[in-house]
Amino acid sequence: MKVSHKVVLHFPPIVVEQPVIYHLARDYDLAFNILKASISPQEEGIMVIELSGEDADFQRANDYLAKQGIRTQPLLQDIRRNDDRCVHCGACVGVCPSEALTLERPSMRVIFRADECVACGECVPTCPVAAMELHF
């Protein structure tokens, strides 16, 4: 069964030099789309990546990543809206690049769809009432 997951990969320093993504594509037949990468040799690297392929390949790839010492976590957990704080002003909608934040009309309420979110983080400082939270 074909699956598609957005995951956050945490690379320990020693693994940063290895072509991990190349192996994911070539050895596990996963199509990849890198959404964000922040890696330096001195510190842990973080990559937000969308991986698509067969479910079985995805499971084997997860084992490979774990063996490399790479921690994975689903992206869904990374940006959250605090519904008690949100005032539905709409300021976040203007800066969201993936339409995870949209306005429902005619109610004008702000809708947050976590599975569309690419965790770019723009909404976090843009929200006037600090309702968007970034969790890594």
């Binding site: 709409g90 203007g94 800066v95 843009t126 009432v129």
Partner: protein, 404 residues
């Protein structure tokens, strides 16, 4: 047959008042016409919830032992400087004040996470706030330094005193330059990448009484979740702004100065706000009832988003340089579709004030009136109208001469 305010208030006391929100009134007037609407409807309620920078609280801390006099010294609340140039323990804290140590835009764009507005929210929410002061001593006020936690319930007066709230219409902000800019109208993408607007439109208080027939000094309002009053025109009140054929301003026009007891307000309706690259502000919930005295008032409260136009203005060059250019005008109906046409380009629109909360405020005032809890107060003095010719002018510009 016109109604009087007293007749309407009698109906409120008897539980017989017919009250609708300004949003509901759009349909009432559209279906029945203003004359029948004026007969059937007694009160129309309005609401708005958005950033209102010219807001702050007046607070009397009570006297210490020995006494201390803040005026001429320095006062901070949770590290945010407050204004102390009044009597001994009278202090004013404005929404946009920042702690000395806030880096502001040193690393651009700054986040401005905590300012005067957040202190106000903390106090209204029941949280404690640190009061610190240093000052010179006098024989009658010998103490020169103090540091104490305070909460809202422990102080004497604490009232919200907002010199400019409830703007009657406002700009639509765009950015013509090549780089993203960070403004009080939000983050604006380059090359007309987005258009940001800030108004409750057909729910907005002053857009439902555009010539200030009923709203005036003394009007009782919903403010921050409690009761408040209009006390004066707000700063930059510009009733002589250009108006359309319905007498509705096509740019920012009237404003209100409002007061209310902070102790009966709620943090749901008073929120500290941070605008990236700009600063802090207070997001205020405000609403007011309009007595439907006659057909003209009914017609005006029937205003819809399609009847209200706002000016699209470039915030990268035009606004900062105080130039008058207006790119085009669009209605709030167009803005709320999610995109507008500017210079042949389709631009996505983003609101900055909360229409859902504005709707809730208008609904709350409606419930208060229907349940007999809230009677309308008439204005004791009018706000300056268009016939006054009043328009906000520029700052005096007379550079001091070295030879003087």
């Amino acid at each position: 047959m016109a109604k009087t305010l007293e007749e309407i208030n009698q109906k409120i006391r008897r539980g017989q008042v017919v009250v609708v929100t300004a949003e509901e009134m759009v349909d009432v007037v559209a279906e029945k016409g203003p004359k029948k609407a004026a007969q059937d409807i007694d009160v129309v309620t309005t609401g708005t919830f958005g950033a209102m920078c010219s807001s702050g609280m007046m607070i009397n801390l009570g006297h210490s032992r020995p006494r201390i006099k803040f005026g001429g010294g320095q006062v901070r609340l949770n590290r945010v400087p407050a204004y102390a140039g009044l009597a001994a323990v009278d202090v004013y804290l404005g929404a946009t004040a920042l702690p000395d140590e806030d880096p502001r835009n040193a690393v651009f764009p700054g986040e401005f996470r905590y300012g005067g507005a957040h202190v106000i929210e903390d106090l209204v929410a029941g949280r404690r706030v640190l009061l610190e002061a240093t000052t010179y001593g006098t024989d009658c006020y010998p103490r020169r330094q103090i540091s104490t936690w305070i909460t809202l319930s422990e102080v004497n007066e604490a009232y919200l005193f907002n010199p400019r709230n409830s703007y009657q219409n406002y700009n639509v902000a765009v950015n013509k330059s090549d780089r993203t800019i960070y403004t009080y109208m939000g983050t604006l993408k380059p090359r007309l990448g987005c258009a940001n607007y800030c108004s409750a439109g057909q729910l907005s208080p002053l857009l439902n009484d555009p010539t200030y027939r009923t709203v005036g000094i003394g009007t009782r309002i919903f403010l921050g979740g409690g009761l408040g009053y209009v006390v004066w025109q707000g700063t930059q009140h510009s009733p002589a702004a250009k108006r359309n054929e319905r007498d509705i301003p096509v740019a920012g026009a009237g404003t209100l100065a409002v007061v209310g007891d902070l102790k009966q307000m709620s943090a749901r309706w008073l929120r500290g706000g941070s605008f990236r690259g700009y600063g802090t502000t207070l997001m205020v919930g405000l609403g007011l009832p309009i007595p439907v005295l006659d057909e003209d008032v009914a017609a005006q409260t029937g205003v819809s988003d399609a009847d209200i136009q706002a000016p699209v203005i470039d915030y990268s060059h035009t606004y900062p340089n105080r130039e008058p250019d207006v790119i085009t005008r669009v209605s709030y109906a167009e803005l709320k579709t999610g995109s507008i046409q500017v210079d042949g380009k389709t631009i996505p629109t983003t609101p900055l004030s909360s229409y859902p909360l504005a709707r809730e405020i208008a609904g709350t005032v409606k419930d208060w009136i229907a349940s007999g809890k809230f009677e309308l107060s008439g204005a004791v003095a009018p706000l300056p109208g268009a016939e006054s010719g009043m328009m906000a002018g520029p700052m005096p510009d007379h550079a001091p001469d070295k030879t003087e």
